[in-house]
Symmetry: C2
Subunit: 160 residues, 2 copies
DNA sequence: CCATATTACGTAGTTAGCTACGCAAATTTA
DNA sequence: TAAATTTGCGTAGCTAACTACGTAATATGG
C-alpha cells in the first residue's frame, strides 16, 4: 500500500519525515536490544563511546560533545549509573562538578556491545552507502546551524 | 567550535544525528509559531492539510495516511478540537467511528497559515535544493521499510 | 444466526528530547 | 576583597512519539 500523505507535501513534510524516520529507527533499535537480551538502551552507546575515549567527563562536557541539552545527559547517565555502567564522583578541584566514568562492568561488557554496534554500522553502511548520506547530513547540519529553519522562514516571510 | 563527537562515529551515529536534527527543526518550528503569535503547534499542519484534501476522516484513517500510530493522532486532534480547529462527530454508519473535519475557524485561518507554510517550503527549498534531499528520504524510507535496522543488523550478526 | 474475529477508538504508561528556573561554587571585575 | 557574573548541576514540567491493553461495534463464517 502506497498511501503516504506526508510524501505528497514535498518540502513541507521534510522535517516530519525526518522525525518519523528517526523515531522508527530508534524504536527498532530498542527492539533489537530486547531481542538480543541486552540490557542497554538505544542512546547509551553515545556515553559508552565518549567515555571510552575521554575516560572522565562532567555532565556539561558530555552535553557539549554530543550537542544535546544537559538535562538530557543527566537523564541518560543516571539510568546508566543505576544499571551499574557508570561511576560518578564529585570533583575535588571543583565541587560543583560531578565526574563520570565507565565502571568495570561497562569495560567488561564493552567488547560484547561493540560486536553489536559494528554489525549495526556494517548493516547501515551496506544499505545506504550509495546514498552518500553522511555527507548530506553534514551539509544539513551545517546549513541549519548557520541559519535555522525559523530564521530562514521569517526572512522569507518578510520578502513579501 | 567544532566538537561534535557523534559525527566522529560515522554510521554508528547516523540515527542519532537524524533524531537530533529533526528535534532541532521541531523546536525551531515551535518558536517560529510563537514569535509569529500564531496559536498552532508544529505538527498540526499535517491535519489541516490532510482534512483540506479529504474533508472527513476517522482517527485510524488519519493514522494510515500519515503513517503514525493512532494514539498519536488522538493526542493531536484532541488538542486541535479543544483549540476550535476541528469538528468531531460520531459516524451514523459505524458508531465506533468518530469523523473529524475542519471547523469554520480552521477554514477561516487556513489562508493565513498557508502563507507561513509556503514561506517555510520556500526557505527549505532554497536552502537544500542542491542536496536532492527528498529523493534521499524516499530511498531511506523505502529501504528501511523493506528491511528495518534491526533485521539488517541481526542478519549481519548471524554472518559471524 | 450465533460465535468468533476484526476493527475503531480510547487510555495508561514509557521514552527521549526540550526549556525554564534555581542554587551553590567558582571566577572575574571594580 | 567584596560584588557581580558565569558556570555546573539538578529539578520540574512540557511535547511528541511509541507500545500494550481494553472495550464496544461491526463483519465474517460455519
Amino acid at each position: 500500500m502506497e498511501n503516504d500523505f506526508i510524501k505528497e507535501l514535498g518540502y513541507l513534510g521534510f522535517a516530519t519525515r525526518l522525525k518519523r524516520l528517526s523515531d522508527m529507527l530508534l524504536q527498532d533499535g530498542r527492539r533489537m536490544y530486547q531481542n538480543l537480551d541486552v540490557d542497554i538502551e538505544p542512546n547509551w552507546y553515545l556515553i559508552f563511546k565518549l567515555l571510552s575515549k575521554h575516560k572522565q567527563l562532567g555532565v556539561t562536557e558530555i552535553a557539549q560533545h554530543l550537542q544535546l541539552a544537559h538535562p538530557s545527559i543527566i537523564t541518560i547517565t543516571n539510568k546508566m549509573e543505576k544499571a551499574g555502567y557508570l561511576l560518578s564522583i564529585r570533583s575535588k578541584a571543583d565541587s560543583r562538578k560531578r565526574v563520570l566514568s565507565l565502571s568495570e562492568k561497562a569495560i567488561d561488557k564493552l567488547p560484547e556491545y561493540e560486536i553489536i554496534w559494528q554489525a549495526g554500522i556494517k548493516s547501515v553502511k551496506d544499505a545506504l552507502d550509495d546514498l552518500n548520506i553522511l555527507n548530506t547530513l553534514d551539509e544539513l547540519e551545517k546549513r541549519f546551524s548557520k541559519s535555522g529553519f525559523q530564521s530562514r522562514t521569517l526572512e522569507q516571510l518578510n520578502k513579501n
